[in-house]
Symmetry: C2
Subunit: 204 residues, 2 copies
Amino acid sequence: MASKGLLLVLSGPSGVGKGTVKSAIVETKAFPFEYSVSMTTRKPRPGEVDGKDYYFVSVDRFKEAINQGELIEYNQYVGNYYGTPLAPVKKMLSEGKDVLLEIDVNGAQKVRQQMPDGVFIFLTPPDLHELKHRLVHRGTDSETVIQNRMKQARNEIMMMSDYDYAVVNDTVANAVSHIKAIVEAEHVSVKRVIDSYRKMVEED
Amino acid sequence: MASKGLLLVLSGPSGVGKGTVKSAIVETKAFPFEYSVSMTTRKPRPGEVDGKDYYFVSVDRFKEAINQGELIEYNQYVGNYYGTPLAPVKKMLSEGKDVLLEIDVNGAQKVRQQMPDGVFIFLTPPDLHELKHRLVHRGTDSETVIQNRMKQARNEIMMMSDYDYAVVNDTVANAVSHIKAIVEAEHVSVKRVIDSYRKMVEED
């Protein structure tokens, strides 16, 4: 059944290992997907190809892209702009290709607002998952460490609530396996396939 | 993260192969689940064990069970009543066990009304999936055959709209693989896990 591709948004708190999990998906060929090429005002490094590694643009061009609504999300990092162009993502999705965005939580929130049909996956730190155990077996951590972790945990859980799936990054292999299952399941979700079935019988 | 088990409801049009797919899940040990034991007024056959194969009860007891709301759904077949008792299903789910119900579409509809948190999987006949192709390449089927299949297809798509997932039963192995992925994905869906995370930080 031909249908639109999935926009897969992989996010989570900083340091949770988003990049490592994405690399493992690529290396193990867990499932096929297309890359979204980012736009940046950073200068190309030796060997980087415009349109492949990044769309390299001037600050003026980047600001124009922002103003014209050409970017799903953007941010500034070490003096340079980075953003995700909307048009190529929409094109790949309409061709039935899945697109994977690995992105920070602020970026994911902006993507959610514009593309609510995306599949939003929150990578969860394993120590959040194990927090209960750690709290029960106090003594290994100081009270200050525990209180700080609790505060952070409440923050992480609040972030998680905006996502569709919470995948614990206990091992990269487990995380990849869950993400693979999510992709397979979403591809057979009724909300994603029923329109193409309906179209099929209406066209007669 | 301990959480409630999943109620998996496997249904679909008659003849689609629900029983075969369920047997394949059992035989390949695709994922662990508990059986729901049905209640029936049918007489036990040699070797059948009360409480294991069925709960064998009198017609009066069955009618009492209906009136007391003890059954999630029930129907009559060749003069006997068959029904799904609610209490054991609820108990298994609260113990974190997944429960699989293989059930006809009318039964599934009743389960949906009472247990909307269930995972409702619609097995789709492969010829529905291939209908478009068949319509394009008319000539192999008569116009009457095509019109009947179209009418049936519209009915099947209408049924499908009440479900969470539509799994094409093209091969039993493919169907089982998709159902396995659905189970894995649902177990990490935020709506199912976030309460236990929240409870964890609130309890401190």
